[in-house]
Structures are given as structure tokens and as C-alpha cells.
């Protein structure tokens, strides 16, 4: 990426504080610096509870930063920026709508006619591999299928910026591999910037161009690693290459310390 172009996402010294349950102030993330260029796939890894979801909520405009600057497409984020898609950590499909109607939500909200929205939704339901399940309700689907619905629901809006919060972490290993491959297939050629939060380092390296390692909470970006693995990647094959193992070792070295700190804090809290 050339340095003259405006980064799609820019976090400069972004800090987010919440009021904690005890009435004090809890810092979720501090002094975040991160830039993401158009078409770039950035994975964010970090120990549990460090502030990864909070980072995404800052970019999405759902939460304003307490300090610092958050900009999307060069403009300060005040509301929800244009062209942002966000796949939440928790299931957010509407249980009272069929698969097709769930996927058609975005176009409907954005003013498409009902038939237009359904046509686009049908196309995306097929693309995520749910053809034939259009009329099912979410409770009739498996967890993996519900994630596909959420993916289609997000992608049907053709976001230029795609925020994904541990989208596949609840899935079994085989399904996760399948979904990773599908995500790469659907993303390639769209030119969308992706910020993909995961606690699975392997997943991060399979998917991303760069991996940001966050510190134990309150999180800040500790280090950003380039993943120089060729594309298109075969999500299944690439984990076995030596290049993959090298970068894995390097990033894990950095992540392990933070995981260790978090683990110690937690056991300290339990004791």
C-alpha cells in the first residue's frame, strides 16, 4: 500500500473507558494505534478480555472513544460510518425471521424494494452455501449454519470495511476450516478491508496480511507482524508449510507473554 493514500481505518491514541460495576472507571483499551489500508486483511489477536471487541466497537461507531482519534475513510467517526459491516461475537440473527428474510434485512433497511432485497438475499444465501434453507428459522439451523446466515447478512450490504469478531470461534475444527476457506473466497477480489478478531493465532495467520498482537488488558497494540504468505491461500494446506510455522513461532513468542500475564491475573483473582 502506498503511503499517500488515506488509510481506510485509522486509530490514533484511541482510549476507551467504561464505568465499571463498582462505580469506578475501567479502561478497556488505551493508546491504540492501528491503521488499515483498503483491501487489507488485518487480524487482531490478544488474550481474552483484553479489549478486542471494544476496539471493533470503536471502529464501527457504536461506541465513541474516550480519548484519541478514530477515523474511517479519513473522516472522524461520529455515527456509524458508511460502508461498514460488523459480524458480532454473539449470534445476532433475528430468531423470528427466516434465513432469507434475515439476509434481506440490510437491503430492506437501506431502501431496496422487498423483491429486490429478496433477490439479492437469495443470491447471498446461495453463495454462503445455504441454498435450500431459505425458509428455515434460525433455531432450525446448526451453529455453523447460523454463522453463515450472519456472514451473508453482513456481506449482502457489500461493505468496504468488514469487522469480524471471533466469527468462527464457536465452531468445530472442520467447520471452522471450511468457513475460513469460504471467507477467503468471498473476500478475494472485493477490495474490502477486513479487521478480524480472533484468539486463535493459527486462524489469524491463515487469513491475514498483518497480525496485530494486543497486550493484556487494558489493551494496546503491542506489535504488528507482516504475514508474507502467498495468496490465494489454501486455508487447509497453508498451515503445513514451513513459512507458516516460522511466522507462527515469531508471533506466538510475542502473544505468549500477554496470555501468560492474563492467566496469572485470573488465577490470582480466583485464589
Amino acid at each position: 500500500m502506498t503511503s499517500e493514500t488515506v488509510p481506510v481505518i485509522e486509530l490514533v491514541g484511541a482510549t476507551k473507558r467504561f464505568r465499571s460495576a463498582s462505580g469506578g472507571v475501567h479502561t478497556a483499551v488505551r493508546d491504540l494505534d492501528l491503521t488499515v489500508a483498503a483491501g487489507e486483511f488485518v487480524a487482531v489477536v490478544g488474550p481474552t478480555g483484553c479489549g478486542k471487541s471494544t476496539t471493533l466497537s470503536l471502529v464501527s461507531g457504536l461506541e465513541p472513544p474516550s480519548h484519541g482519534r478514530v477515523a474511517v475513510n479519513g473522516r472522524e467517526v461520529t455515527g456509524i460510518p458508511e460502508g461498514v459491516g460488523y459480524m458480532f461475537q454473539a449470534d445476532a440473527v433475528l430468531p423470528w425471521r427466516s434465513v432469507l428474510d434475515n439476509v434481506a434485512l440490510g437491503p430492506r433497511y437501506r431502501g431496496a424494494t422487498s423483491s429486490e432485497a429478496r433477490d439479492r438475499a437469495r443470491d447471498w444465501v446461495g453463495r454462503v452455501g445455504l441454498g435450500g434453507f431459505e425458509d428455515y428459522y434460525p433455531h432450525q439451523l446448526s451453529g455453523g449454519m447460523r454463522k453463515r446466515v450472519a456472514l451473508a447478512q453482513t456481506l449482502v450490504n457489500e461493505p468496504r470495511i468488514l469487522l469480524m469478531d471471533e466469527p468462527f470461534s464457536a465452531l468445530d475444527v472442520q467447520t471452522r476450516g471450511l468457513m475460513q476457506a469460504e471467507l477467503l473466497r468471498l473476500w478475494s477480489g472485493t477490495g474490502a478491508a477486513v479487521v478480524f478478531v480472533t484468539h486463535d493465532l493459527e486462524e489469524a495467520l491463515v487469513l491475514a496480511d498483518r497480525v496485530a498482537v494486543m497486550t493484556a488488558g487494558p489493551a494496546t497494540v503491542k506489535q504488528v507482524f507482516d504475514v508474507r504468505l502467498p495468496r490465494p491461500r489454501d486455508a487447509e494446506e497453508i498451515r503445513l508449510t514451513s513459512g507458516f510455522l516460522d511466522v507462527y513461532r515469531e508471533v506466538w513468542e510475542s502473544l505468549r507473554e500477554e496470555v501468560q500475564i492474563t492467566r496469572e491475573r485470573m488465577s490470582g483473582r480466583v485464589a
Partner: protein, 291 residues
């Protein structure tokens, strides 16, 4: 499921058909037994009542099934003290339905508005608590003074009872909307009105429907109590009159008619609920066949 893209209906049909039909047969058998035992219970109850009222206790106070049956036959084949029984039923029913619809609509609207607006809810909270603490049955007397002996005073009583039952549920339902769903909709591009229609109202629906079951009962109570306090027609008047003439069979007969109306309404509401909540997974105790 290891591979989650199985084609629907691709399993061997014979096996599945067999499992479904045998499960259905089991359900049918169970239903039959349950109904049989219920009928038996009713027969034992009515029989022992009839016998004890004939030989042990005074039927003047406690009446007995045959007398109640006779009273019902009398009402339906001839007439009541105030004209045809159908006139009384239709009168009470109109009052109850009108109070139910008006109270339901008002309760849902206000409940959702307050549930979604912190400020309005904070302002109005003490007034609503106070209004809710008023013994509502007493209002029936007030309404007779305000609206006269006609239908409107009964509708007002039914309205008040229904309104509060529905309002609190709608309020709670609108409050407990999953934030994740709202945020997801906002990201997908929904405005305030769209969030209200596609997220808040549907998620409050199961709360609201739950309250509607008891609310129709309240509507009938409101209508009947209103008629007690003064009326020229209706089932409440019939019962009040029976009380005045020490006609205990008449009280029971009126009670039975009201109960039947409430049961029919309950059944209709259940149909509505099934239709509106068909997206929900079958809960245990429903009549879906599970294998």
C-alpha cells in the same frame, strides 16, 4: 453435525416415515388416556356433588348439578328474567371485547413507547405506580357515575384491567430487547422506526402475547363486575339478580357460561400465538411430534 450442509429431506424416507408415524401413534394414545382420565374426574366430581346435595347438604345453598343443568336449559330454551340469554351473552361479550381491544392497543403502545424511552419512563414511573395501586374494581363504581349504566362504563372497567396487565408486559418486553440485535440492525442500516418495527415489536411480542391470555380473563371480569355495579343487561346482571333471589343454581349457571366464553377466547388466543410465534422452537409440552 460435522458437515452442516446436508440437503433437506435427503435421508431415507421409509425409516423416517416409520419413526414419525409411530411417534404420532404414541402421542395419540397418550392424548386419549389423558382425556379419558379427565372425563372420569369430572364424572366423579359431579356425581359426588349430586349425591351429597341430595342426601347430605342443603341444595338451597350449594345447589346441585341437575338443578344447574335445568337452569341452563331453561335459560337457553325459554328466557331469562331480562330477556333472551343470547342478548345477555352478546352484551357482556361486546363489552369485554371492546375493553380488551382498546386496553390491549393502549397497553402495547404506551408500554413500547415507555420501554424505549428512558426519559418518558422516568417521568411517568411514579404516576403509573400510583395508578396501578388503585384498587381497580372500585373504579367500576366511579365509571358508572361517569359513563352511566350503558355499555361504556363496563368497557371502561374492562379497559382499565386489561390496560395494566398488557402495559407492564409490553414495557418489560420493549426494555429487554437484546442490545446485540439492535446494534446489528443499526450496522445493517436501520433507522429508529425500522428498529422499532423489525426488532423491538417482534421481540416484545412473546411478552405481550403472554399477557393477553390473562388479559381476556380480566376483560370479562371487568365487564361482569361493571354489570354488577349497575346495568340493564348482561351476564353480570343475571348473576347479581340470582344472588338477590337466593338462586344459587343461577349463579353457577352464569359462572359456567362465563367460563366457557373465557375458554373459547383462550383457545383463539392460543391459535393467534402459534401463528405469531411460529418461528420459536417447539417447547416441551407443545403438540409437535418430536422423535
Amino acid at each position: 453435525m460435522s458437515h452442516d450442509v446436508a440437503l433437506p429431506g435427503s435421508a431415507a424416507p421409509t425409516d423416517e416415515d416409520f419413526a414419525v408415524s409411530s411417534a404420532r401413534a404414541a402421542v395419540r394414545r397418550r392424548k386419549l388416556t389423558v382425556t379419558g382420565v379427565r372425563l372420569l374426574l369430572v364424572a366423579v366430581w359431579l356425581g359426588s356433588w349430586e349425591l351429597s346435595a341430595t342426601y347430605l347438604i342443603d341444595p338451597f345453598y350449594y345447589s346441585k348439578p341437575s338443578a344447574i343443568g335445568g337452569k341452563l336449559v331453561d335459560w337457553f330454551t325459554r328466557t331469562t328474567a331480562f330477556g333472551s340469554i343470547w342478548t345477555q351473552i352478546s352484551y357482556t361479550l361486546q363489552e369485554a371485547v371492546a375493553g380488551f381491544v382498546l386496553g390491549g392497543v393502549a397497553g402495547v403502545l404506551l408500554g413500547i413507547v415507555l420501554g424505549r424511552s428512558r426519559f418518558v419512563a422516568d417521568v411517568l414511573a411514579p404516576f403509573i405506580k400510583a395508578a396501578n395501586a388503585i384498587p381497580r374494581i372500585v373504579l367500576a363504581s366511579l365509571f358508572v357515575i361517569w359513563f352511566g349504566l350503558g355499555m361504556s362504563s363496563k368497557i371502561a372497567t374492562a379497559f382499565i384491567l386489561v390496560f395494566f396487565a398488557v402495559f407492564f408486559n409490553a414495557f418489560q418486553g420493549a426494555r429487554e430487547v437484546d442490545r446485540g440485535l439492535v446494534n446489528n440492525a443499526r450496522i445493517l442500516g436501520a433507522g429508529r422506526a425500522q428498529i422499532l418495527w423489525t426488532i423491538v415489536v417482534p421481540s416484545a411480542t412473546s411478552w405481550i402475547l403472554a399477557s393477553l391470555h390473562s388479559a381476556f380473563g380480566f376483560a370479562i371480569i371487568g365487564a361482569v363486575v361493571g354489570e354488577y355495579s349497575g346495568a340493564d343487561k348482561g351476564l353480570g346482571l343475571l348473576i347479581n339478580n340470582a344472588q338477590g333471589t337466593f338462586d344459587s343454581a343461577g349463579i353457577y349457571a352464569g359462572m359456567i357460561i362465563i367460563t366457557l366464553i373465557a375458554l373459547v377466547a383462550e383457545w383463539l388466543l392460543t391459535l393467534l400465538e402459534r401463528r405469531l410465534l411460529r418461528w420459536r422452537p417447539a417447547v416441551s409440552g407443545s403438540h409437535d411430534v418430536q422423535i
